[in-house]
């Protein structure tokens, strides 16, 4: 007991939103039958878009490569159903714009590409060969940010990684995709982690899981022993945003990623549990990222479920499978309620970073008109980055962007803790995003 208490380190700030995980945490992952048409955007990751190598009329099988990456920080996308390429055109994307997408009509045969083959000797591959397979499989971080995985796994030589952290915190309320993945596929996750450790050769490794998932902690501990990797499974106290990269590193190692820096600046590298499993699939089975677990939840969905969904599946197809949405559903969100992105078109496709499809009822969303700041200071106490959200809010809204920069607007991780606690319901994160965007635009202009 004394030891486990001493391990309960944490970060400053944070909030405790209602978890609402009970809606889906006991629901095993179901396979969602593929839709008749998938829409696969050429850009689903942070970085340069990839370029189509197929044309309308081509027939494709699951796992066939559809695009070529256009730079180092870029990954390809793959066919997720077998069938015919119908069109290559701009389609609505869940990040809010229209993005060039490859539309495939399924032939119903669901046949896999011949290139997808198990490799019994995968463990003897070199680190570079593994990275190549990871890139070829189109992997981008599946926790939500979707940064190309092979880039993250290629730290520059002057930034040695001594600590690897597997992120199973899943601190977003409502979402249980990672939780179910750990319960049902612990071994594959740990096998993926073993490959990461082989590539990076760190001195220590952690698996961080919030302690509202003690069953997952136990399962992962068992898997770690079984697979034989040297990693410490740590139950972290439930506090949002425990799974944010910088906060997770702080909680587990006590190290603070410097302002404007990256985890590798403090010798750390973090990967999500879903990504680790995809790495195993990519390296050992040469299997590209064509599907992922998505939590379809919120009280606005008739039957909440955890689904294994093909990339490119329209949200509406998944929602229909879950019985549709209720009368009082008002908000459709990709991701969790704290950082997810509100959608206005249910035809947008599931992409690599889609961890959840959340439908909130009027009661859950509690839409309110913003009031005025009464300087209660709750946002400052909640901010895990040590910022003054209300001050930034008024600086940005008065277009005093340079001062906002001085006050640290660029350090904001957009976790939403401030706006969650604000009694005046000010759109604080909205202001932060605006401030960051405007500053980014200026920096670009200045070169």
């Amino acid at each position: 007991m004394g030891l486990s208490l001493s391990l309960r380190k944490t970060f400053k700030g944070g909030v405790h939103p209602p978890e609402n995980k009970e809606l889906t945490e006991h629901k095993p992952i179901e396979v969602l039958p593929p839709p008749s048409t998938v829409v696969i955007p050429v850009q689903q990751h942070i970085g340069a878009p990839s370029e189509p190598v197929v044309k309308a009329g081509d027939s494709v099988k699951i796992g066939d490569r559809l695009t070529e990456p256009t730079g180092f920080v870029s990954v390809p996308v793959h066919a997720t159903v077998s069938g015919t390429v119908k069109a290559i055109e701009a389609r609505p994307h869940p990040l809010g714009t229209e993005v060039l997408s490859i539309v495939i009509e399924a032939d119903g045969e669901d046949a896999w590409s011949d290139a997808v083959q198990d490799d019994p000797n995968y463990e003897s591959l070199s680190a570079d060969e593994m990275r190549q397979r990871i890139r070829d499989a189109g992997l981008a971080g599946m926790g939500g940010a979707a940064f190309p995985t092979h880039v993250k796994l290629s730290p520059p030589p002057n930034k040695p990684i001594d600590t690897f952290i597997l992120n199973g915190a899943e601190c977003e309320p409502y979402l249980t995709a990672d939780h179910r993945l750990m319960l049902e596929h612990a071994e594959e996750i740990v096998l993926g982690m073993k490959l990461i450790l082989q590539i990076l050769q760190p001195k220590q490794a952690f698996i961080g899981i919030e302690d509202n998932k003690m069953d997952a902690v136990e399962v992962m501990k068992k898997a770690v022993k079984q697979v034989g990797v040297d990693a410490k499974v740590v139950a972290l106290p439930v506090k949002y945003p425990q799974g944010a990269e910088k906060q997770l590193i702080k909680a587990l190692t006590g190290r603070e990623v410097p302002r404007g820096g990256l985890p590798m600046d403090v010798g750390c590298l973090v990967q999500n549990v879903g990504t680790a499993r995809a790495i195993y699939h990519a390296v050992a089975k040469r299997r590209p990222l064509v599907e992922r677990v998505v939590t379809v939840t919120g009280r606005g969905v008739k039957e909440q479920k955890n689904l294994l969904v093909r990339i490119g599946t329209p949200f509406s197809h998944a929602l229909d499978y879950c019985g549709g949405v209720t009368e009082d559903a008002v908000k459709l969100i990709m991701g969790g309620p704290m950082m997810g992105i509100a959608q206005f078109n249910p035809e947008v496709p599931v992409i690599k970073g889609t961890s959840g499809i959340l439908v909130l009822t009027e009661r859950e969303a509690r839409l309110r008109e913003p009031g005025v700041c009464i300087r209660c200071g709750r946002c400052i106490e909640a901010c895990p980055m040590g910022l003054m959200p209300t001050v930034l809010h008024s600086l940005v809204n008065n277009k005093r962007f340079d001062e906002a920069k001085e006050y640290g607007v660029l350090d904001c991780i957009e976790c939403g803790s401030c706006a969650f606690v604000c009694p005046a319901k000010l759109p604080l994160v909205h202001s932060m995003k605006w401030g960051k965007m405007e500053l980014g635009r200026r920096m670009k202009k200045a070169g």
Binding site: F11, K12, V15, P17, P18, K246, K250, R255, E256, P258, R259, G261, D265, D320, G324, V325, A329, V330, K331, L332, P337, M338, M339, I341, A342, Q343, F344, N345, L358, L360, E364, A365, R366, L367, G371, V372, C373, I374, R375, G377, R378, I380, E381, P384, G386, M388, T390, V391, Y407, G408, D411, E414, G416, F420, P423, A424, K425, P427, V429, H430
Partner: protein, 349 residues
């Protein structure tokens, strides 16, 4: 899927159940024990002072918002709280027009002129009190009603002086003796000594509220009940009350006696006067106190220093209101100085 209009907004898509009006009305509720106590100790007149102050505060806010063509927001409870706090800072026997004028000033020139809730630099209720104290000093400083089951001074002497005032008068006598013994009659000295020793024995009366004073400030017990509720709800934080009261205790212990350093009585100074009301309910006003933890510590210490300077050196027996008002003016500076450390800001790149 059928067509429908989905609502779109920036994240987060959840918010907790707090709201400004919930905070304000619960602050008002936390002041209820002291208000009920005021009516018990000082009689129905106290209820009328509270009534007129609240009605005038709410009415003034509504009238100004109407005139300015702005939405009327009196239901948020903030004007109600201002009226309540102003009344608590007035003698129970105030004529009915006094709280009315005070509230009109507090809301009109203390709050609405700056743009209303959230924009006022100083605590409106205290500003109203300061205005009344400057304009009708006799009405505001002479206490005629003895509390139910007690005396104005809190001891068995009927003087019309509140405990702090009686202490100040008595200590002045003792100090005079030291400078010019020939001019002070021995009887006066004996009387002053006796008063001080009795005052320093009257903790019970001070704690329960069996002393004279402004109607809402006298019962430490009832005020602490409300404060405990606010602390439990986390609407106030201990930083300001602790630093404020701690500073007053320390400085009055050091300098509050007549026999040299560390001969003062800190407990008496903490329990007497308006310190508890001020430290828990007025210095903690969200709008007019610093927004960062470090700033709040500094703010409380500043309030404590000014209070003690006024109590021990100034012309008034009590300095809580002015100390808070003066410190309100330092808030923008404190906020600028006391920025929290940004995550990763201490680490070297």
């Amino acid at each position: 899927m059928e067509q429908r209009m989905w609502k779109v907004s920036a994240s987060p898509h959840l918010n907790d159940k707090e709201s400004i009006s919930k905070i304000m009305w619960l602050v008002a509720a936390s002041l209820a024990p002291a208000g009920i106590g005021a009516v018990y100790f000082f009689g129905a007149h106290a209820a009328w002072v509270i009534f007129w102050a609240v009605v005038a505060a709410v009415g003034t806010e509504a009238a100004i918002q109407k005139l300015m063509g702005k939405p009327v927001t009196v239901s948020d409870g903030s004007a109600f709280v201002t009226g309540l706090l102003l009344a608590y800072n007035m003698p129970a026997e105030s004529p009915f027009w006094l709280p009315i004028i005070g509230s009109i000033f507090a809301i009109g020139l203390g709050k609405q002129i700056f743009g209303g809730l959230g924009y006022n630099p100083m605590n409106p209720a205290l500003l109203g009190r300061a205005f009344l104290l400057a304009s009708w000093p006799t009405h505001m400083t002479i206490f005629k009603t003895a509390p139910h089951g007690g005396t104005i001074s809190g001891i068995d002497v009927e003087t019309g002086a509140t405990p702090l005032n009686l202490l100040k008068l008595s200590q002045d006598v003792l100090r005079q003796v030291k400078i010019n013994p020939a001019e002070v009659p021995a009887q006066k000295v004996a009387e002053a000594t006796e008063h001080i020793s009795k005052l320093y024995d009257a903790y019970g009366n001070l704690f329960w509220g069996k002393v004279g004073g402004c109607l809402g400030e006298t019962s430490v017990f009832l005020l602490l009940l409300g404060a405990a509720f606010l602390l439990y709800k986390r609407y106030i934080d201990l930083r300001i009350p602790v630093s404020y009261i701690g500073t007053v205790a320390l400085l009055t212990w050091m300098f509050g006696g007549t026999d040299g350093l560390f001969t003062g009585n800190p407990l008496f100074h903490v329990l007497a006067g308006g310190l508890i009301l001020g430290a828990f309910f007025m210095a903690t006003d969200m709008v007019t106190s610093p927004i960062t933890p470090k700033g709040q510590w500094a703010f409380g210490i500043g309030c404590g220093v000014i209070t003690v300077v006024i109590r021990l050196i100034g012309g008034y027996p009590e300095g809580v209101s002015y100390s808070i008002l003066l410190m309100n003016l330092t808030v923008p500076l404190l906020d600028r100085w006391a920025k929290p450390t940004i995550f990763g800001g201490a680490a070297k790149k």
